[in-house]
């Protein structure tokens, strides 16, 4: 290459190609996304965060929470479950259908409805089972369920998708899991007091936690007539001196409001799932993955 002009033209073309591919094209595809109704409902998703939670996003950013926590649930695939919801009047025929499907007849299979009949089967088998049961006069539903270690840990009901971040600026996806994923921490841990205690002294609520305490988000002050509503109840070494209380600062309260607002638990067109009743509650009481 003899001429500097050719050199810079080459560089410009190479950069322009990647610019068109990874800036222009995503802008055309993702930049026009808008709030959409959730699948099977009329509520628009995602909603802008309310005021205090929006302030909390700034606290989350300022303190680099995304250096240790991701906000993106990974989904490996989907699977289907078949749930028997009604038996109908011809129980003998339903039991025949059970035999045809290779299901166990032990433990009164037609009682305790709704009841899981098949879990983790492919869609074709689930559809066949549903049709067979309905032909026998019973009613069964086919539930689509996301799979993967994150789902199994209860970190979410589906994988994260681009629409989940529509209201975020900046998007704080995170790239490290030195702490657990927080995409649905508002669903899993809906108690503000739990979060305040966790920020003040993580070991109080999570045994063997490796998270550093964030005591600078709290202040110790003299009790004015009666303790504040959000004063932390602390024992032992952590208890403040008599007549004093530990309360969250504005930043601390905002951060907790933001954490409680982190919920991406609704089914979308691009991320479908059909959660059986009680599934979200189960995820909320996750005992495997403590934050």
């Amino acid at each position: 290459m003899r001429h500097a002009g050719v050199l810079f033209l080459t560089g410009f073309l190479a950069m322009s190609a990647s610019w068109a591919g990874f800036i222009l094209a995503p802008q055309l595809q993702l930049g026009r996304e808008s709030m959409e109704p959730v699948t099977g409902g009329s509520e628009l998703y995602p909603q802008p965060r309310p005021g205090l939670a929006a302030q909390g996003a700034a606290v989350y950013r300022a303190n680099g929470c995304n250096q240790c926590h991701t906000r993106q649930v990974q989904q490996v695939g989907v699977t289907t479950d078949v749930i028997l919801t009604e038996v109908g009047t011809n129980q003998a025929q339903v039991l025949s259908a059970f035999k045809l499907l290779g299901l166990s007849l032990a433990d009164n299979p037609l009682t305790g409805l709704p009841r899981d009949l098949l879990r983790g089967v492919d869609k074709k088998r689930a559809d066949f089972a549903q049709k067979t049961l309905e032909d026998a006069g019973a009613k069964a539903s086919v539930q689509v369920r996301a799979t993967g270690p994150d789902i199994a840990r209860g970190w979410g009901l589906r994988g994260s998708v681009a629409r989940d971040y529509l209201q975020d600026q900046p998007i704080l996806l995170g790239s490290q899991r030195l702490g657990p994923d927080l995409a649905n921490i508002g669903v899993r841990k809906p108690d503000a007091t739990w979060h305040l205690k966790h920020l003040y002294a993580p070991d109080l609520v999570v045994t063997n936690s490796t998270m550093p305490p964030y005591r600078f988000l709290f202040e110790t002050r003299q009790i004015n007539q009666s303790p504040a509503a959000d004063a932390l109840v602390l024992d032992g070494d952590l208890a403040p001196a008599p007549g004093f209380e530990v309360v969250p600062t504005v930043e601390g309260r905002a951060l907790v409001a933001y954490l409680l607002s982190l919920k991406s638990d609704v089914p979308l067109f691009e991320a479908p799932f059909s959660a059986p009743p009680g599934a979200q509650a189960a995820a909320g009481t996750n005992t495997v993955a403590n934050p």
């Binding site: 790239s175 550093p212 600078f216």
Partner: protein, 480 residues
């Protein structure tokens, strides 16, 4: 590719008389760049160590927001990239452009002013992260008010580099000039794009993620690649006193690096349309093409090359090969799923930036500094010691991160493992890496000592010459 590779002309060095003049033109602009870069490198290493302290004693900084891990870690990363790698890369590129162009550095004042603005921007950015104004985009955390002086500075340096390239004596460009020329101009192009679309007029939702991924690939793969390969193509043939084996392979390396590198930034885990992740994965694998072309050109040169600086180039080159191997394993197989969100990724970052980029740029710095100062290094033994300490530091940081990261990923993939056990698995690798960070502090301090001592000697030499001037003038008048 050509059937008969043409060697790059080794002639490219100017005559000894011209060399002195060229180096003198680079003296203050480049000493300024190296002075700031060496200082920020030490501060970055200190910040890395402070960040890792949270994993030794979590409550150590419980009452101090400024020193929390969430602020120290991005501070360290940003200072390594913007404080050291970019200014040290510019310094090496400007010097190569002047030497290979057989011309004095054009608009050296632009570089001097640019250096001051750049360091001001880095200082503002560092303060911004500490007081909680960080942007939240990883490796691009400096706030907008720090970006403006940095952008102007990069344009000033770019203008100087471009005009030095235009003022060259020979029309024919040496391969190192291709890389160095693009190296001094690449950053303002990508930085202005990222700052406009992420901070000034931010795009919506995950479109920000795409812009961010594009910027990171351009910065960490392409820009580091341009700096590093320019150094390898200039210094290895010069130290070995042999021409670069093939211009065509060098051209192929350049084109494939800038074509593939810019696409390699989207993580496979990102919640973006699948085509982006897949395309990025393919391009990451394709990076093996420029690396192989580089290996064919440089491998014979890097063996048995003599000189203190040569050890830095050898180490940096081999670190690049290790990085490429890991990238191939991660992107070419299903291993990426185990490595996702683990310490493997900071390990890869450290391998690329500390093991490859920093080592190559340190080698260039130790070669260039005595020449532009017009006198040997004050403490050459410290430069040798710096290499040993920095190399040990790279091993102590990268190996625990990569090995520990895979252990962390294996546990993370098993939902039966309680998360606190997964988190606990990261403690030992990070604690071992702290020793590497400590070594970096000591090693990089040695560079600072050499740079400061050299500048002090240059200033003292100038002062002596100035003091002797009246006597010389008086003698001349007496003779008249």
């Amino acid at each position: 590719m050509s059937q008969s590779p043409q060697p790059a002309s080794p002639s490219a060095e100017p005559s000894p008389a011209a060399t002195g003049s060229i180096d003198a033109s680079c003296r203050w602009p480049l000493l300024g760049l190296y002075y700031g870069a060496a200082g920020w490198l030490v501060v970055s290493a200190v910040a890395y160590l402070l960040a890792s302290m949270s994993f030794h004693a979590p409550a150590m900084f419980a009452d101090c927001a400024y020193s929390s891990y969430g602020r120290m870690a991005p501070l360290a990363n940003n200072l390594l990239i913007y404080g050291f790698c970019i200014p040290a890369g510019w310094a090496a590129c400007l010097w190569m452009l002047a030497r290979l162009g057989k011309t004095r550095l054009v608009h050296g004042w632009f570089v001097i002013i640019g250096t001051k603005l750049w360091n001001l921007g880095v200082l503002l950015g560092a303060i911004g992260i500490l007081i909680g104004d960080g942007s939240g985009y990883e490796f691009l955390e400096f706030p907008l008010y720090a970006a403006w002086p940095m952008l102007v500075a990069s344009l000033l340096v770019g203008i100087s580099g471009l005009n030095t390239l235009r003022a060259r004596a020979d029309v024919e460009l040496h391969p190192a000039q291709w890389f160095a020329g693009l190296g001094v101009l690449w950053f303002p192009w990508i930085y202005i794009t990222a700052m406009l679309l992420l901070q000034l007029w931010p795009v919506r939702g995950m479109a920000q993620g795409a812009v961010h991924a594009w910027f990171l690939a351009q910065q960490q793969v392409v820009l580091t690649g341009l700096f590093g390969v320019a150094a390898l193509f200039y210094f290895l043939p010069t130290l070995k006193q042999q021409p670069l084996p093939s211009r065509q392979l060098a051209l192929f390396t350049l084109i494939t690096l800038i074509c593939f590198g810019g696409w390699a930034g989207v993580p496979l885990t990102a919640p973006v349309p699948a085509w982006m992740s897949v395309l990025s994965r393919i391009m990451s694998v394709c990076l093996v093409v420029p690396v192989l072309a580089l290996v064919l050109n440089v491998w014979p040169l890097h063996l048995r090359v003599q000189g203190d600086e040569a050890r830095y180039f050898r180490f940096g080159f081999r670190a690049l090969l290790c990085w490429m191997t890991l990238v191939l394993i991660l992107n070419g197989t299903g291993v990426w799923r185990v490595a996702a969100f683990t310490l493997v990724h900071p390990g890869l970052f450290q391998l690329l930036m500390q093991g490859c980029g920093t080592m190559l740029l340190l080698g260039a710095a130790y070669y260039i500094l005595p020449r532009i100062a017009g006198r040997p290094l004050v403490y050459p033994a410290l430069a040798r010691l710096h290499f040993a300490i920095a190399a040990a530091g790279v091993f102590l940081v990268v190996i625990p991160f990569v090995v520990g990261g895979f252990q962390q990923g294996t546990k993370l993939a098993d939902a039966e493992v309680v998360f606190t056990d997964v988190a606990a698995a990261t403690l030992m690798p990070i604690r071992v890496a702290s020793m590497g960070q400590l070594l970096f502090i000591v090693g990089h301090l040695l560079l600072s000592v050499n740079v400061v001592a050299l500048i002090w000697q240059v200033v003292r030499g100038m002062a002596k010459a100035f003091d002797n001037q009246p006597a010389a003038l008086a003698g001349a008048e007496g003779r008249a």
